[in-house]
């Protein structure tokens, strides 16, 4: 397996009690809750954690993009990627991902990724996402055109990376007389593209198409859902006439290792419960604005995603462990849980979130060290 050390960069100094008066930590939580001095210390800690991942033997560092929320402090993830390039030597850096539809000019994304790829001498993995529903509230972009804008922006970016410019691009949402990327990407034909998703048939169908074969990373899902979505990708690939490789499958999961199951549960509890009960929750109206997904997908998601879309019920670490949304335990327990999913799906990319919620630096770093020394080598 290949291992990504992934980070959301949550704003841990958040006054959780006062923040719970608001309907979500997204969109409507006043930014008076954010203290730039504490925010600076958070960036420093998190950059230290991510660059340490290289020394521990991870294959990839993963950062991500979210807007106007205490859930993650990377509205411009390429800035963090740029800082990480300077702090590391050879590890890959994955931006999981840029939210294509909510950007006014996708050429800017193509340019920035090309710059990062050249700056890092080819260490960039480009993740493409549509952004979470809340981000259509925070940016004003119309969610009804989210899919169209995603596909058009994707086509434009890939063409900008690969075709000789200048060329003209005529889309319905984006039109340019001159597309002529300077610089071009370092990697040939272009940086690998990964598709993180909460899971939808449309996304799997698109990512697995033979002309793309983009790795699909399933995020924030119970073990049963992870297995179902990854196998859906395999089946869809077969319907396209080929066998998907394990490297096309990824599982993104909050993970915590300590010497015993009991200690792991105790130490992970505050982090995991604040992630799922304080930082992540948002009402359906924010999560899935009309048009963001097909109505069929919407109805299915509302049934499956009990962990999202509501503040009504707090989830406990025991529930999250039991349904496999979080992997927590001794090295032996964690290894078994990962092997169980790998054996059912053939997944070869594990995207581990080793700091989550309010988890302090000391625990996050020890978690990274234990995972890297006690679990990772057994899965190589």
């Amino acid at each position: 397996m290949k291992f990504t050390c992934f980070h959301l960069m949550p704003y841990r100094p958040l006054d959780l009690k006062a923040a719970s008066d608001y309907r979500s930590a997204w969109v409507v939580l006043p930014n008076s809750f954010y203290d730039p001095k504490q925010g600076a210390a958070e960036y420093e800690s998190y950059l230290d954690q991510l660059s340490y991942a290289e020394k521990l033997g991870f294959d990839v560092i993963g950062v991500n993009e979210h807007h106007q929320t205490a859930y993650g402090m990377m509205p411009a993830p390429n800035l963090i990627a740029s800082a990480l390039i300077q702090r590391t030597k050879s590890i890959k850096i994955a931006i999981l991902g840029r939210a294509l539809p909510i950007v006014g000019n996708p050429i800017n994304i193509a340019e920035e990724f090309a710059m990062l790829d050249v700056l890092s001498k080819g260490r960039i993995i480009a993740g493409f996402v549509r952004g979470i529903g809340a981000e259509y509230h925070s940016t004003g972009v119309n969610p009804a055109f989210s899919h169209e804008r995603f596909h058009e922006a994707h086509d434009l970016i890939v063409k900008a990376w690969t075709a000789t410019g200048p060329f003209e691009f005529e889309g319905n949402h984006f039109r340019y007389r001159y597309v002529n990327l300077w610089p071009r990407p370092y990697q040939t034909p272009h940086p690998p593209i990964w598709i993180p998703s909460m899971g939808s048939r449309e996304t799997i169908e698109w990512a697995s198409a033979p002309e793309r074969k983009y790795p699909f990373l399933v995020t924030f899902s119970s073990e049963a859902a992870v297995v179902r979505y990854l196998n859906m990708y395999r089946e869809t690939a077969q319907a396209h006439g080929y066998d998907a490789s394990g490297s096309q499958l990824g599982w993104a999961v909050p993970l915590y290792v300590a010497d015993t199951d009991a200690r792991a549960r105790e130490e992970a509890k505050a982090g995991i419960e604040t992630l799922f009960n304080n930082f992540l929750p948002m009402p359906w109206e924010m999560l899935l604005p009309p048009g963001y997904t097909s109505n069929a997908s919407l109805k299915v998601t509302m049934k499956i995603r009990t962990s999202l879309g509501s503040r009504a019920r707090n989830q406990t670490i025991d529930e999250l462990i039991a349904n496999g949304t979080a992997v927590v335990g001794s090295p032996k327990t964690v290894l078994e849980k990962i092997e169980r999913v790998r054996d059912q799906t053939g997944v070869e990319n594990l995207i581990t979130m080793l700091q989550f919620g309010v988890m302090p630096d000391a625990l996050a770093v020890r978690n990274m060290e234990l995972f890297a020394s006690k679990v990772m080598p057994k899965l190589w």
Partner: protein
């Protein structure tokens, strides 16, 4: 344009066009283009224009209950809807489809067409704009701008009333509408 074609196809003489909210916006868009088949316009809390500094309510972020409550001044109307039996699967599909359509038209810019206001002067038929004084979706302050832009428009402000004046103050709004149409006919 669809509305104009429909009026052309369905009627041989001009009709009195009445539109509420998004429907009022559509009626106005049709009327600035061509009033050949339009005898008069009655707009109930129409969307379509904006007044800077007075944003509409953010109906897209409201919960279903908030959305119902914010539609009415008199909460008894909201209570009745909230206590109604939950919709069946077919109705859920229709509701979802309607919401997607509303988002397509109204998400960005929020509930208006930047090009509409500057052409409202072209509406040469009698117009009546009705607004609930306590509208939480499209603020009643917008009524004045409609009055300025549509020459001779009659403005009826309905007290103790939310975004659906024809429901919440049905008798009064019917009386005002019929009165307006009678004057137009004579």
């Amino acid at each position: 344009m669809y509305t104009l074609d429909m009026l052309d196809g369905a009627y041989s003489s001009p009709v009195h066009l009445i539109g509420h909210s998004l429907g009022g916006w559509i009626a106005a868009e049709a009327a600035i283009r061509n009033t050949r088949r339009i005898a008069s316009l009655t707009l109930l809390a129409p969307a379509g224009i904006c007044v800077k500094g007075i944003p509409p309510g953010d109906n897209f972020i409201w919960s279903p209950e908030e959305a119902i409550r914010n539609r009415y001044y008199d909460q008894r109307f909201a209570e009745a809807l909230l206590q109604a039996p939950p919709p069946d699967d077919a109705q859920i599909d229709i509701d979802l489809q309607n919401r997607v359509a509303a988002v397509k038209f109204g998400w960005e810019p929020r509930w208006f067409d930047p090009a509409l206001e500057k052409w409202l002067h072209r509406i040469a038929v009698p117009a009546h704009v009705v607004w609930g004084a306590d509208d939480k979706i499209l603020p009643s302050a917008y009524a004045a701008l409609w009055g300025e832009r549509v020459a001779g428009a009659q403005i009826s402000m309905v007290a103790a009333c939310g975004h659906s004046p024809h429901i919440e103050q049905c008798d009064l709004v019917t009386e005002k509408t019929v009165g307006f149409l009678d004057r137009v006919r004579t």
